[in-house]
């Protein structure tokens, strides 16, 4: 039915979006690549010429690099573990018959809509403050010494804040997936005397496999880029300087654009490795 006429019309209609995204992708990317091979210090002499792979080597060999990789992996791994495990449990619970299911859903999903700067500040001050925070009161109530969360247990604190923000996302997606599970299958297994653990391991979990993979991939992309939560809580101190934050500091705080750009290229490569897997799943789904 599609005529030559409608085909060319379609191409014209697609053009603005494609051209804009192409520019958005290519222009900054090419600039970053270019800067990464240069000694470029905007406040101390500007463009000081090509230096080959110097920045790449220096970025990796700086003493801040490996700790930042560890910090990044801790946040990504920790948050993924917490959100996926609790997300599955919560999704199973929310799928059971109960009173006021709609309201509970609303309560559970709310953290996702809180802007990152607000959630980080609320947790930092009203809960984790060692003097006036709610946790400090709780600890004192049980006779324990209050903890200065963000300096003494900085990493677990940040993992907790970020997990709180992302648990709703994982739960919601897993709940959507669980609702498409054929309940007759579960009932038949129950009749045959399969205990709950086995029903979960052999029926529910395999059914959730794809949804879990998608949660992991999408969250990884966002978690690699966690920024505001660190910006307003520790400012990268106490071992919480992630790769993203390190690049931000190199580029904007110490204005070493060449070095920061090399770091940026590393970050882009890292994100692309994750992205390839995600695209494969989404691409398969397009054919269906």
């Amino acid at each position: 039915m599609a005529t030559q006429h409608s085909r060319s019309a379609a191409r014209i209609m697609m053009a603005p979006a494609v051209i804009l995204l192409l520019g958005w992708m290519l222009v900054p990317l090419i600039m970053t690549l270019m800067f990464s091979f240069k000694q470029y210090l905007p406040l101390r002499g500007g463009d000081l010429g090509w230096v080959g792979f110097d920045n790449y080597v220096r970025f990796v060999s700086s003493s801040a690099f490996w700790p930042s990789v560890v910090a990044t992996l801790t946040i990504v791994g920790g948050v993924l573990l917490i959100t996926v495990v609790f997300g599955i449990l919560l999704a199973i619970l929310l799928n059971q018959p109960m009173w006021g299911q709609g309201i509970v859903r609303i309560l559970v999903i709310a953290p996702f809509f809180v802007m990152p700067t607000v959630s980080a500040l609320v947790w930092k001050n009203m809960f984790m403050d060692p003097v006036n925070g709610l946790f400090a009161h709780l600890w004192k109530f049980f006779g324990a010494e209050p903890i200065a969360w963000l300096s003494e247990a900085s990493m677990p604190s940040i993992v907790m804040i970020v997990s709180w923000q992302w648990l709703p996302f994982a739960t919601l997606i897993l709940l959507t997936a669980i609702q498409s599970l054929d309940s007759e299958q579960l009932e038949a297994a129950e009749m045959d005397g399969a205990p709950p653990i086995k029903r979960f391991a052999y029926i529910t979990l395999p059914h959730l496999g794809r949804a879990i993979t998608i949660v992991i991939l999408i969250q990884t992309i966002f978690l690699l880029a966690v920024f505001a939560e660190i910006f307003v809580t520790t400012g990268g101190a106490f071992g919480t300087r992630t790769l993203t934050y390190l690049i931000f500091q190199r580029v904007l705080e110490s204005q070493n654009v060449g070095l920061g750009s090399a770091g940026g290229v590393y970050a882009i490569i890292l994100a692309n490795i994750v992205a390839i897997f995600l695209m494969r799943i989404v691409g398969k789904n397009l054919d269906a």
Partner: protein, 276 residues
Amino acid sequence: MARAVTQQRKTINTALAWGIGLLIFFPILWTILTSFKTEATAIADPPVFLAFDWTLENYSAVMERSNYARFLWNSIIIAGGSTLLGILVAVPAAWSMAFVPSKRTKDILLWMLSTKMLPAVGVLYPIYLIFINLGILDSRIGLVIVLMLMNLPIIVWMLYTYFREIPVEILEAARMDGASLKEEILYVLTPMAIPGIASTVLLNFILAWNEAFWTLNLTAANAAPLTAFIASYSSPEGLFFAKLSAASTMAIAPILILGWFSQKQLVSGLTFGAVK
């Protein structure tokens, strides 16, 4: 007997789910409650839960002190502007991909998705430099453009998934009856597409409202939206819990309400249709 057991199980489920739900929601509830306390009650030891003299003084203090209205206005302009602009660009693209698909449609869609994966920090300085050269650093129009481009892949994808569910037969019937392309879009497609467009608008408005990398790094005094306004409360000493809570409540309340309406769209929108 069986009925009694299920009733009992339902009660346990309900209690457990409500308990966990309230626990997850508690930080938000606590923020809202604290916003109505005086600064002294806000840090009272032991903490006061409900039995305090409710006051609105924090809200008026925040409004007076920090020019809250300008930050709010910036947030509305930036989130609203980027969403509308994105819709304008994305509707024709998604329409053509859904109704006149070619061999390359799938590749184009996946490529668009891949631009979303580009870590922002990797291109921070180029964008910063371009903004300085164009004179749009710390301007609302600059952020409208960046956030539009950032969310454009999601907008195209969401619209594409919605449009694809519109039956093609209806369009063909309209064509048979002699409807032109313009009439087809205006009278047949638009009414059917409006719910999908509405949820796309909603979700992207929320994402743009909460965006906190570009809004923190590309604004200063003029164009700073609420994300930056809240971040300015992060100085450790002399912090006022009640005022922080009032400011936070004002920043999240509109989005929380919008968000509850859009929870269904959230799943298909953020998983690019891979989970429905």
